[in-house]
């Protein structure tokens, strides 16, 4: 977004006031921080005591997908909403394909061919590692989303191939899949968001897979959806 009509930033008075405000805020925050205990344990022990029941070995993953699965579930909904909000900006339900104006050129073409499989493998690896080391659905989704974007930016067809139903389905998969599993278990008498211990590991993997896919597609959708060049339809609905 170029600054076509540059407007200067705030005038000196606002700046000075803002600096004073910033310093005051820093002062207040510093006082609070300095008062905090330098030694504490938080919930580390609590988590480590029960991690055996969670179905995974990596503590943050256990927290994310089991102990505090509710947060994660809702967070997928936040991502879904953002992607969806961006789609609302467009009138068409399908995402446009990159205008095939440029040909990739031999170097880019070679690089893309190399990078895409690598990215997918990396994504899957990250997902897999998530159970016992840093990694997991979001990292994996990010990498795969990046791969999709790379494809698109270098002139290949990617997300524009998706039909409206596919697009919606992909966006929904993580949240809806998570919800479906939780709801099914809930109906059959489990506590909401409780996994049967024997199945916990499997459920977490399934949920992570679905979330990975949704995250990847959501990122690309968010990137593509607000393309200004196809907004010719402009505002609709008359004077509101």
């Amino acid at each position: 977004m170029e600054n076509r009509d540059p407007i200067p930033d705030s005038g000196p008075i606002v700046r000075v006031l803002s600096i004073i405000l910033g310093l005051a805020l820093f002062g207040i925050l510093a006082t609070a921080v300095l008062e905090l205990d330098v030694e504490a344990t938080g919930l580390t022990d609590t988590v480590m005591e029960r991690i055996g029941e969670s179905g995974v070995d990596h503590p943050p993953t256990a927290v994310l997908l089991n102990f505090r699965a509710y947060d994660t579930w809702l967070e997928v909904a936040v991502l879904l909403l953002a992607a969806w909000g961006a789609l609302v900006l467009r009138q068409a339900t399908r995402l446009p394909e990159q205008p095939a104006a440029r040909s990739p050129g031999p170097v880019l073409d070679w690089l893309v061919r190399m990078l895409i499989p690598l990215a997918i493998v990396t994504g899957v690896y990250l997902l897999w590692r998530g159970t016992d080391a840093p990694g997991g659905a979001f990292q994996a989704g990010g990498v795969i989303g990046a791969a999709l974007l790379l494809l698109r930016l270098s002139g290949y067809r990617s997300i524009g191939l998706f039909s409206a139903a596919w697009l919606r389905g992909s966006l929904l998969a993580g949240f809806a899949g998570f919800m479906a599993i939780a709801t099914l278990l809930f109906i059959t008498g489990w506590t909401f968001l409780e996994y049967p211990p024997a199945w916990a590991g499997l459920i977490i993997v399934i949920v992570e897979l679905l979330i990975t896919w949704s995250v990847a597609v959501s990122f690309v959708a968010l990137f593509v959806a607000a393309r200004p060049d196809d907004s010719a339809s402009g505002p609709v609905g008359g004077e509101r």
Binding site: L36, D37, R94, G237
Partner: protein, 521 residues
Amino acid sequence: MSLAGIWVILIPLICGLAAFAVGGRSARVIGLIGAGLTFLLSGLLVLHVWQSGVWIYQLGGWDVPLGISLRADGLSAFLIGMTGAVGLGISLYAVRYFEDEDEALTPDPSPDPSAPLRTGAGRGGTEVWLPGTSYWPLWMLLWASLNVLFLSNDIFNLYVGLELLTLASVALIILQREQAAIVAGLRYLLAAFLGSMAYLLGVALIYADAGVLDLGLLADAELTGTATQVAGGLMAVGLLLKAALFPLHFWLPAAHSSAPAPVSAALSALVVKGAFYLLIRLWFEVFESAGTVSVEQMIGALGAVAIVVGSFQAIRQARLKLMIAYSTVAQVGYLFIMIPLAGSFGDPEASWRFEAWTGGLYHALSHGFAKASMFLAAGVLLSALGHDRVWHLAGSASRFPVIYLSFGIAGMSLMGLPPSAGFVGKWLMLRSAVESGQWWWVVILLVGGLLTAGYVAIVLSQAIQHDVEEHTEPHPVPKLMTVMVFALAAMSLLLGLRAAEPLELLEIGAPFQTLMSMVED
């Protein structure tokens, strides 16, 4: 019935996702089913809390502090009940509102009658999002996120809930993709984002200090340190920004007035209450021991300024929806007068604290119904007349008698005139102010009512004015919309005729339990 608390979150989510997945015309049907079911479940939850007291649920079977718990006390049930009833009214209205809208936006009938045009699907492969189609899933998600917020008992989870609420609201504001709405939505998003960050920093500080995130445990911990005070300040500022308390209201008028009517209604009636709810929950449960009278008085003073400035701005507005939006700014001010009244001014054991607390919440309830009715009324006028300029409404009272009657009733409730729910709220708050000797709030509460009468009377007298100009025949408005406008206004009136039970509901699990026995008279 004890699981209504889960279903009240799940059902709108399921229906919202289903509506999103199928799209088109069926979205409306699914949305409507979702609205009906959620309403019923909200009622069940209220009933459950009423009968069995506070409801607590450990998600995933993990006890706090490891897991997240849901908790419904009287306050949560009260607001969920309000959301259920207002939400149902808005949904029924929206059915016809967007039907009209979509009809206007659907491309000309295709020569091929078998083409499923009304499902929003395809000519030449380009499907079209109709505002009505997108409305239902987003609205269901908004509703669900409100319920998430009202039920969650975990300060970090509440952050996620707040973001969910914000994003759903913004997506609904921009539903019609108009320029004004996009600017308003963007500004709202940025303001809310800033608020969330302040809140999140507060959460981090609290966790660093207390090592837990559960509200109940935090309340028991009786935190008093500097870190808690700073965290409380950050969270309060963040939430005040989201609740649009003066001077942090700058984003509200444009956002609430540029959205489609059912969305405006939901934003003003319900979404603002989400942030307000969270603030008072934190204030009176967690930061009680860390708070000070001066801070409470300051928040109240901002509320007072909001009442005056918001009302004067409302009086000045030339467009009805903007007027109503500014009225929300003013009415939000009333809500925050509750903080110094229910706060620790004077005798911390006094009965007036509970009165102020219930009074403020009753005001929130009455505002919920009344403001929804007003925005929906403005929506009817806008669809029928094609404009909402206040000075061009002359003579429309005889063409839309029910709309203006409802507007008047809703206005009565906002003014706090009996018999209306607004009166009950005002009565309790006034009592509390007189009892505690905080006369300055008495003055502002009374003056605020008169200022409200100012802008309500402007609209009504314009409408009643004898029609001098020739008008084009108004665009017909579906009856159901008018009925819902009236129903919501009537609710704001009826809740003022018998307040004993709702007030009793608020006593369940209230943060002023020790005071319960003291309210004698």
